[in-house]
């Protein structure tokens, strides 16, 4: 029995503009499109004339699901947006809710969130560069980078209990403080990372094959990048020093010393190099933050969102009721709306949330950089070779979880 299966998409074009044109379909089940993106391309020989990019294969109704859970229960869901740097999602979401509630987090929490955001950014950039290089056949560089990423994952598992999706942020604080010896191991990993990224620089930077595949491929100008909504490393690779950590400082970024690396041409090579330099800057920030950490509470003392200590829940009625109300009704967020954005690993990660009061959101909308980038990625694919789709797409770092939500 084989009924014809309905096509989930309707391509923008099904015949070419010129007699010799060929239409090919790439993805979604293709490793270079990360398994979720489908590209319908018109080819003239090996040259890509135009492309029609489709997403949605990983859509799982994130925003709908958010409207029937309490504010706290959403934290595991936001983890699964950008699963390469899940902690940044946690903190961006928590910050949005805290803004609505008028909560100011404690200094230790602020520094720790900043430190972990940068740590996640390193993991995300390592993943992106490693995957992009592997797609070009650079297995050694891939192994160097994912080795470090795995050290980071294990190290984060020691802190949060999970390797990839941590559920570690809390509204008004964090799940727990860092365990003993954690910061010492952090320094060791960063030192080893410096060695390994140095080797990758040596292997790749002046490698003829790598330069031929990436230099002047997928070029984007600053004006084009802004017109098509690109943010993050892609916008910076065009030479615009736009970074929310500098432009609208949040968390502890105003107190840190760091640079915003930019590219010259906005091509694949620049996107690789901007990410490599950002890893260095993030490591520099983490070292500063580790020195700045002062002892103190990690959660605000606010009964609207912070859970009481367990031994009090078992011994006094007020704490028991408080715990019960927080679990059953959720944190009480006053009515209002807020758009709050942080610099995610891929660009501006914004949460637009609307509350009508009470423990359940009326609306949670995520402005995810990957989705916006997919709207403009055809500018980087059209006019280049078919084989250039692989390195260009790799350098965009599309993350299915946040693109399709």
């Amino acid at each position: 029995m084989s009924l014809p299966l309905p096509n989930p998409i309707r391509p923008a074009f099904d015949r070419g503009g010129s007699p010799g044109a060929v239409i090919v379909n790439i993805g979604p089940s293709h490793p270079a499109t990360h398994g979720t993106i489908q590209i319908v391309a018109e080819l003239d020989g090996e040259r890509v004339v135009r492309t029609d990019v489709h997403c949605g294969y990983l859509h799982r109704g994130f925003e709908k699901e958010c409207e029937s859970h309490t504010w706290h229960n959403l934290i595991p869901y936001v983890d699964r947006l950008n699963y390469c740097s899940a902690l940044i999602n946690d903190f961006a979401y928590c910050e949005a809710v805290e803004k609505l509630m008028g909560i100011e987090i404690t200094p230790r929490c602020r520094h720790l969130r900043t430190l972990l955001s940068e740590y996640s950014r390193i993991a995300d950039h390592l993943t992106c560069i490693a995957a992009a290089l592997m797609e070009l056949g650079a297995m050694t560089a891939f192994l160097y980078l994912v080795t470090i990423r795995d050290y980071i994952y294990e190290h984060l598992a020691a802190l949060t209990g999970a390797r990839v999706t941590y559920s570690y942020g809390r509204i008004g604080g964090l799940a727990n403080d860092v365990p003993e010896g954690w910061l010492k191991r952090l320094g060791e990993i960063l030192d080893q990372m410096d060695t390994f990224t140095g080797r990758v620089h040596g292997l790749v930077d002046r490698n003829r094959i790598f330069i031929d595949r990436t230099r002047d491929v997928g070029v984007l100008t600053t004006a084009e990048a802004i017109h098509w909504g690109f943010t993050g490393p892609i916008l910076r690779s065009t030479g615009a020093p736009r970074d929310l950590r500098k432009d609208t400082p949040y968390l502890s970024y105003a107190e840190l010393d760091f640079e915003v690396p930019v590219g010259i041409k906005g091509d694949n090579y620049d996107r690789y190099f901007v990410r490599m330099r950002e890893i260095d800057e993030s490591a520099h920030m983490i070292r500063q933050l580790a020195d700045m950490l002062e002892p103190g509470p990690i959660c605000v003392d606010d009964r609207r969102c912070t859970f009481p200590e367990k031994h009090l829940v078992y011994s006094e009625i007020e704490s028991l009721i408080n715990h019960f109300k927080l679990v059953m009704d959720g944190p009480q967020v006053p009515p209002g709306e807020v758009y709050s954005a942080q610099e995610g690993a891929n660009g501006e990660l914004g949460f637009y949330i609307v509350s009508v009061g009470g423990g359940v959101p009326w609306k949670v909308h995520c402005r995810s950089p990957s989705f916006v980038h997919m709207g403009g990625v055809h500018r980087m694919l059209d006019g280049y070779q078919l084989a250039d789709i692989v390195p260009t797409f790799g350098s965009v770092n599309m993350i299915g979880g946040e693109c399709d939500r």
Binding site: C55, G61, G229, G336, G350, W362
Partner: protein, 141 residues
């Protein structure tokens, strides 16, 4: 002003005029986001919400316009910002807001043939409409 963002409620008919002024006179060169909020008990039912960012002044602005359920439509900003193309498609998917002037409102996160708009409050969360029918025990034999 709310939580550090200027929020403007405008007439839907004046959208293009306001956005042109924002872009040309006030330097809001980046289109961040468009979405909608459903208020089933209210007339008009939907808020359409836009966010813009100025890379020069480093501030955001929010525009809101109320559109009725009978004619859920707003002008498209694709002529001013390329990035509006995908985001308007998503908003059309989820809330059924028609963007006049966007010639490509094909489903984007949903699939061809999907009936309804899932982020409207009257769309049941548990409703299923699989593109490929579930396999029954009979078919598996």
């Amino acid at each position: 002003m709310a939580h550090g963002t200027l929020s403007l409620l405008i007439e839907p008919a004046r959208l293009l005029e306001v956005v042109r002024a924002l872009k040309d006179r006030f330097g809001f060169d980046m289109f961040l986001d468009v979405t909608a909020v459903d208020w089933p008990q209210r007339q008009p039912r939907f808020d359409v919400v836009w966010h813009f960012y100025s890379t020069r002044e480093r501030v955001r602005v929010r525009l809101k316009a109320r559109v009725p359920e009978a004619d859920p439509a707003a002008d498209s900003l694709t002529g001013l910002y390329g990035s509006a193309r995908f985001m308007e498609r998503e908003c059309h998917d989820m809330y059924g807001i028609a963007f006049r002037g966007n010639d490509d409102l094909r489903p984007i996160l949903l699939y061809e043939g999907f009936v309804g708009h899932p982020l409207r409050k009257d769309y049941p969360k548990q409703k299923e409409q699989p593109l490929v029918p579930y396999r029954t025990n009979e078919a598996a034999k």
